[in-house]
Amino acid sequence: MMPTAGANSTTISYREACRQAIRDALLSDPRSFVMGEDIGRYGGCYAVTKGLIDEFGEERIRDTPLSESAFVGAGIGAALSGMRPIVEIMTVNFSLLALDQIVNNAATIPHMSGGQFAVPLVIRMATGGGRRVAAQHSHSLEGWYAHIPGLRVLAPAVVEDARYMLAAALADPNPVLIFEHVMLYNIEAALDPNVTSVDIERAKLRREGIDVTLVAYGNGLQKAFAAADLLAADGIAAEIIDLRVLRPLDTATILASVAKTRRVVIVDEAWRSGSLAAEIGMRIAEEGFFDLDAPPRRVCGREVPIPYAPHLEDAALPQPADIAAAARALVQPAKGRA
């Protein structure tokens, strides 16, 4: 197999970008290794690590038993002892089994030890719904992780971020979680040859507009773009902010856009109550209150376990039309205000 197949081709997939990022890390830092379920022989449940075991061997591409708590904790311990582990939890759905290790050890030890120890660990996991795999396999719980002091939480929504966020994450002396949305692995894009790194600090303006700001992340960004196209047809120019970094939140970039458009719709596939969208909306209300011409709005997942039936799952997740409708209602209150 060709480890870097696609690297030179003009466009690559999000999946391939993730794979190349991991491969770069393994080539550039002998302390790095990958650990997780079925990442080796199987090639990764989403084929992200395909072929890496052949190139780097079983020591550095470490298949683990089904023991989320133990291998995530082992990643923390390995980081404490000088390694730079890249732990893969197949999906966020299974990360609940490792949550104690992440919250009580990874996020806590540096502060609790008075700065004696750092935990330079990266944990990657797939997240999100849309694959028709029902309630236990479709969670969008990245917002929970964004609640935890000590963690940095990333959500690459474009191929470029999938390609370059990992290197920045590994350079961070703190535990960094990377959430790859299951619906993004197959998207493709051409990489700008002049870009070889990205920051993991700032949100990013992905599309300029003057009428309303759409704040989104992960798969929500795709939907925001689709919604912006719908809005454009109505003569509404939507500005799109890609959060990119879910913790710490880059509030400044969001506020600057809202100050310009004076209206905001926050897109979040997670359950509405207690969603990250609530935090973003509240920050806008706290700090941008007098810039707003209309209440902040959010388009979130319906508060139900995600059903298997496609028409029900589609109804449970935010869709471009919902986002466009919410934006329209803000821009054209007369017509739209529900």
């Binding site: 299974f94 309630a135 236990q136 396999h137 298997y308 039936a309």
Partner: protein, 328 residues
């Protein structure tokens, strides 16, 4: 009731018929998946039929079952109707879960089938609780808990085994050891690969049985269930079997050789049991053809039922997020 299996024709034919029903049902599921009428994951039981068929024979209607996400065979063997099962796979409102659960989440109140569970190991604590509840309510019921060799790696296995043994709860732990957890070979996942032996760490009686031999599974299960019913506490049954197909519909199978798969296919539960019945003159080709035809007819009807099914109205999406009453 005795652990001796009625080796009369009727019973033997019944066992074969059950395995054929499962095998053919899933063959149809593959077609429907390829036609994109079944979506998401589809974990086939192909090769493991003898386990569920054998174990379910040992259970009565008062007993309970906690299943995995590879549960079509478990459901059919338990008596879940093919029509409602197929409708569920197609996401129809006529499905046993209104189409909300799909392949991985078959629940059926009538047969005390407490669900396919898609979190590996997630069903074990549940089974312990169902058994606890039954015991506290004075029911002499057994809860059969199915899980794979991979689930044995999880902490929930350890906690549940201990709790069941400590409280002497009526649980039959059935480990479907098909040697792989997705692509992870048992020997690469477990320091101790003799799973049945682990039961000793909880002072729980445990045996390993040839999971490709439906008679062996049934008699071991009957024996275990008798022990449990007589108040002996939980029992552990490891069924050594094999998954003939990919983990879920498609995978590169880079983790095993074609030769390994072919060798196991020759030991398949149906081909082997059929052969044994033939050799002993306990069945003839007409019987087999009839069973297959009957199964196919039943499946055809199930597909018709499912295809003709309706979609749950989107307005019902939030129904049952919280219940208005406890169903009885």
């Amino acid at each position: 009731m005795s652990a001796e299996i009625g080796l009369d024709h009727a019973h033997l034919h019944h066992l074969l018929r059950q395995m054929i029903r499962i095998r053919h049902f899933e063959a149809k599921c593959v077609e429907l998946y390829q036609a994109q009428k079944i979506l998401g994951f589809l974990h086939l039981y192909d090769g493991e039929e003898a386990v569920s068929v054998g174990v379910m024979e040992a259970l009565g209607p008062e007993d309970a079952v906690v299943a995995t996400y590879r549960e079509h065979g478990q459901a059919i063997a338990r008596g879940v109707g093919m029509d409602r099962l197929m409708a569920e796979m197609l996401g129809k409102a006529e499905g046993c879960c209104l189409g909300r659960g799909g392949s991985m989440h078959v629940f059926d109140r009538a047969t005390r089938f407490y669900g396919g569970n898609a979190i590996v190991g997630g069903g074990l604590p549940l089974a312990v609780g169902v058994a606890l509840g039954d015991k506290m309510q004075g029911r002499n019921a057994v809860t059969a808990c199915f899980f794979g060799d991979g689930a044995v790696d999880e902490g929930e296995f350890h906690e549940s085994m201990n709790l069941a043994a400590l409280w002497r709860l009526p649980v039959l732990f059935v480990c479907e050891n098909n040697l792989y957890a997705m692509g992870m070979a048992l020997a690469r996942a477990e320091a101790e690969t003799d799973i049945a032996r682990k039961a000793a760490g909880y002072r729980m009686p445990g045996v390993a049985v040839d999971g490709m031999d439906v008679i062996a599974v049934e008699s071991a299960a009957r024996h275990a269930v008798e022990e449990i019913r007589s108040g002996g506490g939980p029992q552990f049954l490891e069924c050594r079997t094999y998954r003939f197909r990919a983990h879920s519909m498609y995978d590169a199978q880079s983790y095993r050789t074609k030769g390994e798969v072919d060798a196991w296919r020759k030991k398949g539960p149906i081909v082997r049991f059929q052969g044994w019945l033939r050799e002993n003159g306990l069945i003839n080709d007409n019987d087999i053809c009839r069973f297959e035809a009957e199964a196919d007819a039943e499946i055809k009807a199930a597909v018709l039922f499912a295809e003709a099914g309706t979609l749950e109205p989107v307005e019902e999406l939030e129904r049952f997020v919280t219940m208005e009453r406890v169903p009885t």
